[in-house]
């Protein structure tokens, strides 16, 4: 009986088994290198990056849509901070949530009213933001000083960015588990027409979902901007777009929506960080690593989609 109670969380979230398995495997393979303070701190840093990118979009995925604009918000926001910092001083960092909210509202309105599939809409917007970033920065990566206090070390071995991300994670989980918005998003994800017939204003809540996704990404990128070095790249790296998606899907939020959510995404992000860090220690070719990440993405989607019936997939 006690054994079964011990197993319950693992049955509900099979990815926890994978996580424990990976930790055991890598600790055995690299006894000197894996369970060290430095390595665990690195894993935690990677976890922060993935979580802050994936937190907002995972709310949209619950609804069955996709939001790929997060890297675009980070890149364009970083350049806008660089442009505005001389005039606004430290307040310039607040451009991130504003840009995120604006982007989310724009995507939501075009998607819900114009009926454009969200993945291709957000992909186009991501490319537009990338182009704008390159134009505004005139082709150079621009560093901004003055926000070092965000990641100033407080507790040994624990990155301060991780502490900052805790309230955001808590907010997202609370929103999805305890409020009407969360409930409605799950309803839209499991059956949109049913939700409409039950009287949920689907269009309005779709816009709200994308706005929330943009806002959470915007708040997260305040931390990420300093966490990732106080500057943004002007070249889009596809890996930054794909990794948070892997974290979302690996955590157990199926792409057709209706279940999962931010609480699962955190586990997915942690598992992916351990997976990647372990492979990184194995001295494989970087190209092979990239290839394995693609395979992991596909496999976790296949596993996540098992047992879902009655949804037509295009």
């Amino acid at each position: 009986m006690r054994f079964r109670r011990f197993l319950a969380p693992f049955i509900a979230n099979p990815v926890l088994l994978v996580l424990v398995g990976l930790v055991v495997l890598f600790s055995l393979l690299y006894p000197q290198r894996f369970l060290t303070g430095l390595n665990l701190t690195t894993i935690l840093k990677q976890f922060v990056t993935l979580t802050l990118f994936a937190l907002g979009p995972s709310m949209v995925v619950v609804m069955g849509s996709l939001d790929l604009s997060y890297v675009g918000i980070w890149m364009l926001g970083g350049i806008l901070v660089w442009l505005l910092a001389p005039t606004l001083g430290p307040w310039a960092i607040l451009i991130f949530p504003l840009l995120g909210l604006g982007t989310g509202l724009f995507i939501g309105v075009i998607h819900a009213k114009g009926k454009m599939p969200s993945f291709i809409l957000t992909l186009c917007l991501l490319v537009v933001y990338w182009g704008l970033t390159a134009i505004l920065s005139r082709g150079y990566s621009r560093a901004v000083k003055g926000y070092e206090f965000i990641t100033a070390p407080l507790v040994p071995y624990i990155p301060t960015a991780f502490l900052w991300s805790l309230p955001l994670i808590g907010g997202a989980v609370y929103l999805m588990a305890r409020t009407r918005i969360g409930l409605y998003l799950y309803a839209i994800g499991s059956n949109e027409e049913g939700a409409q017939l039950a009287g949920i204003p689907v269009t309005k809540y779709k816009i709200i979902a994308f706005a929330l996704s943009g806002l959470f990404t915007g708040l997260g990128t305040i931390i990420l901007f300093q966490h990732l070095g106080g500057s943004v790249p002007v070249e889009l790296n596809l890996k930054n777009v794909v990794w948070p998606l892997v974290a979302i899907v690996l955590g157990g939020t199926p792409l057709v929506g209706g279940s999962g959510g931010p609480q699962r995404t955190i586990i997915g992000a942690l598992t992916f960080s351990v997976f990647y860090r372990g492979l990184y220690l194995s001295l494989l070719h970087p190209e092979i690593l990239q290839l394995l990440v693609g395979v992991l993405l596909i496999v976790s989607i296949i596993v996540g989609a098992r047992g879902i019936k009655g949804v037509e997939i295009t």
Partner: protein, 319 residues
């Protein structure tokens, strides 16, 4: 029922073909005024070169979008096919071409299997596969620039017939075949049927799974053909081949009039879309507008045409 040509009803009925024609004409006129070299013989050959490989790849993507799915892997398959050709032509001679085409066909079929049997949404399946393909391409090429020394291979695309390069005839031939395939064969009608209403198509006895695999395989194969001919045209290449292609490619299919909702349009429409997008691209290059500006403009164009062509009355749920 057929109204007179240029009557109001006729215009409304053919709006889907007329507006891309008008836009294409306006683009040619606009760039011609901005830069008089645009329509000289040399400029025209540049335009032909820019659109030919693009048209081949876009024909494949058109079938997928007609079916209501999406193929994100076209640019990476094109890249892999081109790199396979340039790297193995010395070792296998002309057998490198069927090798590259077979690999492309296989990747396309894999996309189809992921969608049809493993129930992965096509966008994510092709995104995942394209990352894997990029990884393979990077591993094979090691990131270097490879030069094609085989002149006979290059002649596949660069021989001039009647004043136009051979790749143009390849592209037009493939475009005509695709149009025939879409309009005059059961294969094409099945593709339209699945895009129009998936459940109805299944209930009327179409083997949806098999058709999906075939269409994705066709898309991969045509991406491979485009890659091989593009390599012959360029005479060398690296990982950068096709890297900024995905949004313009998508925009050209949709601008032609193949709506993302599926079931409408077709390869015959895509020709106009490709002319609009690739000629605009070349025109912007002639006006010294860089890649960044092009990304912004094409991203916004893609959103605008996708919303404009979407059939909002018929579809009920959009994810």
């Amino acid at each position: 029922m057929r109204g007179n040509v240029l009557s109001r009803a006729w215009v409304r009925r053919n709006a889907g073909t007329l507006w891309p024609l008008l836009v294409a004409f306006a683009i040619v006129l606009g760039f011609q005024i901005a830069n008089p070299a645009f329509l000289r013989y040399e400029g025209f050959i540049t335009l032909i070169y820019a659109m030919s490989y693009f048209l081949i790849a876009a024909c494949g993507l058109t079938f997928v979008i007609m079916m209501g799915s999406f193929d994100f892997a076209v640019p990476s398959v094109l890249k892999l096919a081109a790199l396979l050709c340039v790297m193995y032509i010395g070792r296998f001679g002309f057998f490198a071409i069927p090798l590259a085409l077979l690999v492309s066909l296989g990747i396309g079929a894999l996309n189809g299997v992921l969608l049809a049997y493993l129930r992965v949404p096509s966008f994510m399946a092709t995104l995942g596969v394209s990352i894997v393909v990029e990884g393979i391409a990077l591993y094979l090429s090691k990131g270097f620039l490879h030069i094609m020394y085989d002149e006979r291979f290059r002649a596949l695309a660069t021989t001039f017939l009647l004043g136009l390069p051979a790749i143009f005839y390849w592209a037009i031939g493939i475009w005509a075949l695709s149009t025939f395939l879409a309009i005059c064969t059961p294969f094409g009608r099945r593709t339209y049927a699945i895009g129009g209403n998936l459940i109805a198509a299944r209930l009327s006895g179409i083997n949806v799974e098999r058709q999906r695999i075939l269409v994705f395989a066709l898309s991969g194969f045509l991406a491979g053909v485009a890659g091989v001919l593009y390599m012959a045209q360029l005479g060398g290449g690296s990982m950068l081949i096709g890297s900024d292609m995905s949004i313009p490619l998508f925009a050209s299919v949709v601008a032609g009039g193949t709506a993302l909702s599926g079931g409408t349009g077709g390869p015959h429409r895509t020709l106009l879309g490709v002319i609009i997008i690739t000629w605009m691209q070349s025109g912007m290059l002639m006006l010294a507008l860089g890649r960044d500006m092009q990304m912004v403009i094409f991203g916004l164009i893609a959103v605008a045409v996708a919303v404009a062509t979407m059939d909002r009355k018929r579809i009920r749920v959009v994810k």
